[in-house]
Symmetry: C2
Amino acid sequence: MLHKRVIRSLHRIVGRRNVLTAPADLLLYSYDSSTERGRPDAVVLPSSTEEVAGVVQVCGKHGLPFIARGAGTNLSGGSVAPHGGVVVQLSRMNEVLEIDLPNQRAHVQAGVVNLDLQEMLAPHGFQFCPDPASQKVSTIGGNVAENAGGPHCLKYGVTTNHVLALTVVLPSGEVRHFGVPVVGQPGYDLVGIFTGSEGTFGIATEMTLRIVPLPEGVQTVLAIFDHLDTAGEAVSQIIAAGMLPAALEIMDRTTIETVEASFPTGLPTDVEALLLIEVDGVNEGLARQVDRCAEICRKLKARQVETGRTPEERDRLWHARRSAFGASARLNPGILVNDATVPRTRIAEALRQMQEIERRHDIRIAKLYHAGDGNLHSNILFDPASPGERARAQAASADIFRVAAEAGGTITGEHGVGTEKIKYMGLIYSQADIEAQRALSLVFDPERLANPGKVLPAPETAG
Amino acid sequence: MLHKRVIRSLHRIVGRRNVLTAPADLLLYSYDSSTERGRPDAVVLPSSTEEVAGVVQVCGKHGLPFIARGAGTNLSGGSVAPHGGVVVQLSRMNEVLEIDLPNQRAHVQAGVVNLDLQEMLAPHGFQFCPDPASQKVSTIGGNVAENAGGPHCLKYGVTTNHVLALTVVLPSGEVRHFGVPVVGQPGYDLVGIFTGSEGTFGIATEMTLRIVPLPEGVQTVLAIFDHLDTAGEAVSQIIAAGMLPAALEIMDRTTIETVEASFPTGLPTDVEALLLIEVDGVNEGLARQVDRCAEICRKLKARQVETGRTPEERDRLWHARRSAFGASARLNPGILVNDATVPRTRIAEALRQMQEIERRHDIRIAKLYHAGDGNLHSNILFDPASPGERARAQAASADIFRVAAEAGGTITGEHGVGTEKIKYMGLIYSQADIEAQRALSLVFDPERLANPGKVLPAPETAG
């Protein structure tokens, strides 16, 4: 419980109605889309950078943690409050301040929803490249904090490749401007280091984003394979042929079954893999690329190959992929999402090891992976009401992280570390490498009030 | 002069013949491709990360600055030694350790020459995207230190977008591994903050780079305009049409005259602008894009429009652009290169102000600019032997930086800050923003021995 004096201070900054302290409200903000939990002491809804700075100053004065929050779609515990404190809910700061087409940039507040921005840009023929699966609700501020990816990041890169400048409230409560709104910031890349820092360096309240023309045309291929291995081989052959599709996504049998059980689309459920290939660019080149991809799939004995050339056909082919997470959530009370990533050539081996992991822990894993990037993106399904099942899911997840690390991969392709993966950081980095990261974080947040308990393990106690 | 004990220590690490201390040798290392100067006390040529670490440890023990150096093509004084110390010349570490095509990455030592890597990749149909004009001699280590760009970075992004992982010798002499060799490093983006830090955070000795398939086809358009403004308008219309060429380069009349005087190619010298447009991608789409670009140029009354469809034709069209810097250097004893950058829509205005600057300082400026990025890239020509001319060139350069800053641009699109632009950092950042950068640099280099005197102005003395 916060002291009344603190609450009064917050009231003065954002107004009484924009400070939530009722237990029912706080419970809502104890969750995000991960399985991690942590209840804040208060939630504030600021409307401006100045209000955010005021709130952060109050937190600093009273030694309270502050946790920036967008839509709470975080998949690694980045938005929960394990040490209590004040959640700074940025959804009121949802204004697109400027769209500057000739200079290909957009200036937005942190609470703007990704898809809202895309829908403002599309009529002008432009897009903001990062397209996380959560884009219908997730905010640009959250995308920046998590350095969000998405199916099309194979070709277009992740969020950090598309941020030019940031307005940041530092943990000291000071407002700083990082970067410049053109290509080429002089000096150190503060924008780059802030992007993906999961709210632990301060709160970005405004951002200048690079926007680019929409591709002239987009076509999709859907191929269904009896064996997961051959779907993986198709991905390798497409890449080896020198093509760079905008997306290369694989769904496994468990995922297909889950989708068909929820939103039947007539997919066969006796197959091991569905491969989605999306090709974009100038219109003239698309047909040959699509034909070439389809031919590779057919030669590898795909049971069925379909191509989508119109928006309606493409929507139909993407339907299963887009429904997958929702269907999984509908049928399975608990999902632990794992985005361990391996070098592309190690995918087949990693998949075999994952089958072994499923058996060992007697648990089902629905794979939904970004094959182009080697991101295994697996949904570990469990029933929290069934004794021991959550623990088995967590043990399976730990094993997948180990498999990825041993294959020269990483514990997070795009979802961040949050609270969930802290204990696996040691699989990737030596203690010395982790301390190098900590030293950097202390420059921004010497008092450890910015989203504490995330990203890095606690320092080893001396002696 | 270094103490004999220091020299003996260096001998023990890299061998006697790999330590240079003769005045003539040191003079050679007092220069880079900028007009800045600074003589080191010794030059060492290490052959391994361990040797680099040993050298850095010796420097730390004796409080000596160390300056990593590749090919010395730096254009802002990044490779000179204004405070003396030891130049760590990395040209012996020039091994390509691994090319991993299926995983689209290359692992190289810092001294590998950019073009050598490209020539190893090309037969396999791959490239490393950054293509600085210096690529025939500049090294990957230098490209990383400077976050190098190049004509094709408009479409493909600068160096930081293509580095996955680094092996780094910290100023403490410790060896650290930053990043992971797949998409998605967990935790803070140490690779990103190190890239572009101009050697002031330590020495990167090995790097894992992202490589991508070469575009299937490339075609070039050359258009000659009577007026610089219309060439700029053509660039705007091409971008507005939703095209993203791989390069959009403009040469002004002074540059054309310089080229024709050195390497005559038959270009008219009574015109104000030559625009080069390069389009790449799948073959089928190229012709229409080229036609569209050519049509835009013709409608804007380009005096001449040529298209290059074969490698030979393209080479011919690029010849003038590629010869421009060499021709300038041949005809002008002194060149001050300025890469101030403005938002694309402010180019026409900036060009008008630059004409005024030429008149005001009675100096010639050859413009050679990356029009797509708004990078004004101007070569300020002067004769160092002529009294006052260098000072006038520097005054003109300062004025260009002011014009860029006032237009919402930046003082360096791709050449870095080095020693040359330190005094202009205040045009872009507040003192507080600069101090935020300094705090970050002190994490890596608390003793200020890593390439000191670069990037940031000295701290303001108290009182």
